[in-house]
């Protein structure tokens, strides 16, 4: 049976999505150089296009690609050894601790090393995010630049700088030692959370979300959970993201308008994602002390368990926000807690909290502060002040769907 070019292309696309991290991670260890590894993996995918057409799709595409990419990496290294490289190489593990079988029976799964190297705390978080999307997810510089609304040249320079820092400072290609592990896992989870958040609510554009990026975030969370099955926080993050994602279809109505959680048709929530998410939350909460993502996931679980908005257990949500704020204080958490106060206690009580937050320079241009303030003013019947606050929120909002929601509120207030 001969394959059509379309079938081959689709197999390669699937292998790109599912196997990129695995192939690159294994190749990077052999190449001892991230740039070389990337080139070799790109080359292996190009070769696959020709070979798979002629010979059929291999039973284990990831293993096929890894064989081709690592072979080329070895050739290149031999050649460059003759040329005497100037740049220091990626520092390998002196001892190959636990070379686990990655399921192919051929190559150990090196994806954890890759993730920890990309998310090393000596790199800035924006570099960590860019490197993770490039090296772990296999996105192009152009795609990443578009997602973060920066020029492609800027993004490329950021990635080059990060790779140079890895080489110059000898950031190692290994899984951190046990003592450093919790802190290092936190850095990885922060990056994954950020990728999902940027995808889940787009800061700009005419769509509420960027589903491609949100899916990358979910895939990353799944991968990290799979690779670190004992980490309660990794379970919690995946649970948190699944519960958030479960509401995706209900967030926008047929006309493309934003639907707040209180007005969402809960039959549109994805029951499978909720079930999986709740199970993970339970696992995470069963391993105290509960971490930051454990608390966020628990809040998501309270929402998921309410069959109707009116049945939401706001006292419990407020309690969880109190714990979150006490241990991991941040103005954004404080603002979300204020929303919980408005339902657990009263909008007036929440307004007092928000008035204090308005003084915080960290939130000066945060669109949800003005929007939350406006909603609370509206709920307490302070129409004129609400109008001003909605107008202010509008000036900080670059997302067309969110802007349309704010405009709708403004129209309602103006016609009073």
């Amino acid at each position: 049976m001969t394959l059509t070019p379309a079938e081959v292309a689709s197999a390669i696309e699937q292998a790109h999505h599912q196997e990129w991290a695995y192939v690159l991670a294994a190749t990077a260890r052999v190449a001892a150089d991230l740039d070389l590894a990337e080139d070799c993996v790109q080359d292996a995918y190009a070769k696959a296009l020709v070979h798979w057409q002629a010979e059929g799709i291999p039973r284990r595409p990831g293993a096929w690609l890894t064989t081709v990419a690592t072979r080329r990496a070895l050739e290149q290294r031999r050649r460059s050894a003759v040329l005497e490289r100037k740049l220091p190489l990626l520092v390998p593990d002196p001892v190959d601790n636990d070379p686990q079988d990655g399921g192919t029976g051929m190559f150990p799964d090196d994806r954890l090393r890759l993730v920890f190297t990309c998310c090393h705390p000596a790199l800035s978080q924006e570099s960590q995010v860019a490197l993770t999307l490039k090296l772990v997810c296999g996105l192009s510089s152009a795609e990443i630049a578009k997602a973060f609304l920066v020029k492609e040249a800027t993004l490329q320079a950021r990635i080059t700088r990060a790779k140079q820092k890895i080489a110059k400072t000898r950031i190692p290609y290994h899984v951190p030692r046990v003592g450093e592990l919790p802190e290092r896992i936190d850095a990885v989870l922060d990056v994954v959370h950020l990728v999902y958040s940027v995808g889940s609510t787009a800061k700009f554009g005419d769509q509420l979300s960027r589903p491609d990026l949100a899916r990358r975030g979910l895939d990353l969370a799944r991968m990290v959970h799979l690779l670190l099955p004992d980490s309660a926080e990794a379970s919690a993050l995946l649970g948190h993201l699944l519960l958030t994602q479960s509401r995706e279809a209900a967030r926008v109505d047929d006309a493309g308008r934003l639907v707040l959680m209180q007005d969402q048709d809960r039959s549109q929530w994805d029951g499978e994602l909720i079930a999986e998410g709740l199970e993970l939350v339970e696992v995470a909460l069963g391993q105290p002390p509960v971490g930051r993502f454990g608390l966020l996931a628990a809040i998501g679980a309270v929402h998921a368990e309410a069959r109707r908005w009116e049945e939401t257990d706001w006292d419990q949500i407020l309690g969880l926000y109190d714990l979150l704020l006490a241990r991991w204080p941040s103005p954004v958490v404080a603002l979300n807690r204020a929303v919980a106060v408005s339902y657990a206690d009263s909008p007036e009580a929440a307004l007092e909290v928000v008035r204090e937050l308005i003084e915080d320079p960290a939130l000066a241009t945060y669109p949800y502060l003005a929007a939350t303030h406006a909603d609370l003013l509206r709920r307490t019947g302070q129409w004129q002040a609400a109008l001003t606050a909605y107008e202010e929120a509008l000036t900080f909002t670059d997302n067309a769907v969110e802007a349309a929601y704010l405009n709708q509120r403004l129209d309602e207030l103006r016609s009073r």
Binding site: T169, R170, P172
Partner: protein, 114 residues
């Protein structure tokens, strides 16, 4: 293969002045303990004179020099000492650097390029 790193100790001098000689003596002891615990990795190190003893030299762009009194960059925390360490990789270097006593500030780690 190992790499060398410079660990620069940055301190707030005003805080040291406030704390007085007993605090400095205690800090000396802590540095001795650090040096003993990490002797195998240490390749050098010293305490520096205070920023009031610093002299900076800049090129005047015409082949000459401008010599001025004071540190090169004026900051609240100034470099008060350094260690040169040898480590297998950045993680090992950071683990050692975290042990360097710097109660009135912190440290900066830089790789030494061969």
């Amino acid at each position: 293969m190992v790499g060398k790193y410079l660990v620069m100790i940055y301190d707030n001098e005003a805080k040291w002045a406030e704390a007085g000689p007993p605090a400095e003596e205690a800090n000396h002891l802590r540095h001795q303990e650090f040096a003993q615990a990490n002797g195998a990795a240490l390749r050098g190190g010293a305490q520096l004179g205070g920023s009031d003893s610093a002299t900076s030299i800049r090129s005047d762009g015409n082949g000459g020099f401008v010599v001025t009194d004071g540190t090169f960059v004026e900051t609240k925390e100034v470099m008060g000492g350094y260690y040169i360490i040898e480590a297998a990789d950045m993680d090992e270097a950071l683990a050692i650097a975290k042990q360097v006593p710097s109660p009135m500030g912190g440290v900066e780690v830089r790789p030494i390029i061969n």
